[in-house]
Amino acid sequence: MAWYEPYRITPPWWQSQGKIVASTRARFTRNIEGHRFPQRMDEKERESILNEIILSIKDVVSGFKNTVIDTNIKRDFFVERHVLSKDSQKNIALFTDHTEEESYLINDRDHLRFQITMPDNALFDVFSLARERLRTLEKEFNFSYSDTFGYLTSSLTNTGTGFRLSALMFIPGIFLARETEKILALLVKAPIVLRGLFGGHSEIKGNYLQISTKFTLSMGIEDDLRMLDEVVKALSETEEKSRNILLSEAHLELEDRISRSLAILESARIMSYDESLEHLSILKFASQLGFEGIPDEKTINRLIFWSSPSHIASLEDFELKDEEIDIKRADFIRKHLFRDYED
């Protein structure tokens, strides 16, 4: 069986429908006491840490899908599944449950990083489940800790609590109503990090914005939860308002935009990933607003997920060149746009 076969599904956490908050995630980063961090370990140490961790978490991850990320192809694929970061290393062991709601990374930048991801605004649920898992893990490990710095992590942006809580917001209303300026001015004051779809800086696209907690040294994780909850609520309200303004004051322009996106998706023969994100996210928006003649949101979500470069390649051939992927993508979207699907 090919390594990607168990990952043929669109993860349920990506299947948010009708919601401004597409998904929410809690993530803990921890290292094992007395060891160098993975980038500075030799092969022997890597192996022994790996075995030690696997042995200790075996009950937690029993029945999980697992793979070793040892090639760039695999890395890109799992970055697109929101499990890895773009700057991830090689020879990482990845464990995920079958829905990919829960995942454990061993020997990436840090010895252990685990995350809980759920669809919609589930900040409280991901927080609670992540902390429950942490409580279990704390019984198994002595994590690297100092009184001065808290939990010691490889990246200075995680030192302290080693905790990040984030929400992926779907806010086309704000972007289309050109409310971005106002909203960003508001967000800049909050202790949060703004990122694009895949956590990088250069990818604020597809009308998604990821907001994440920031101050791991000075804010407790309960404060992170309360703060992010407030920010998500404020941002959601602004998005609602923007949507109402668009519907009442720019209905024709909106309809025009949607029809154009639909026409392009239905007829293009070559399509870049950015372009597909742009138009598919407009259709997702149209579907949420109840426009007629639009594919259902579940289908659109799936197309957005599978249009990413490595995912298109995984359906065909990982040796494909970028130009060939753009052709396959256009075909894939045309073929599935109005067709119900089974994963």
Binding site: R36, T159, G160, T161, S202, E222
Partner: protein, 161 residues
């Protein structure tokens, strides 16, 4: 592809396309990896001279140099934190607004903490229910909050658990 120099330091080659939203507009900059990483984290630029000076200082446990830490914002091992304590505090101060772990943060997990979070959540749901005039639900939520308060009170007087 362009073989330009970084738009910030003007010394190292530009390798990263850095996109920012400034005043609601998309601004693209071509930066070297070091400047892009530091800009993404809101840090001032790093001079080439500074990098050379710091590369002589090395962690005895893992071999990571101070200049590597300043460039990547990554440390190599727990001992780095002690070896470069002062420099790391400076970096953390700039990155996170504080140089060391707040004594107020208590990361020990406990039932009490879970209950406090749960209570916060139920209170928010209660506000929502009242706003929507769903009084039946509001009454139920008030009961649940009351139960949590009772349990918290019990835990407070029995801190052994």
């Amino acid at each position: 592809m362009h073989k330009e120099l970084c738009e910030i330091c003007g010394k190292r080659p530009a390798e990263v396309e850095f996109v920012e939203i400034v005043d609601g507009k998309k601004v693209v900059m071509h930066l070297c990896k070091i400047c892009a990483n530091r800009k993404a984290n809101g840090l001032p630029l790093l001079l080439t001279e500074e990098i050379e000076e710091d590369s002589a200082l090395v962690c005895p446990n893992c071999g990571t140099s101070l200049s590597q830490i300043k460039q990547t914002l990554q440390v190599g091992c727990p001992v780095c934190y002690d070896t470069f304590r002062g420099a790391i505090k400076d970096l953390l101060k700039k990155l996170q607004g504080s140089a060391s772990f707040s004594a107020q943060i208590d990361l020990k997990t406990s039932e009490e903490k879970d209950l406090i979070v749960m209570k916060y959540r139920l209170k928010k749901e209660l506000d929502e229910a009242v706003k929507n005039e769903d009084f039946e639900r509001a009454a139920k939520l008030r009961d649940e909050i009351e139960n949590i308060d009772k349990r918290l009170k019990w835990l407070g007087t029995n801190p052994i658990e």
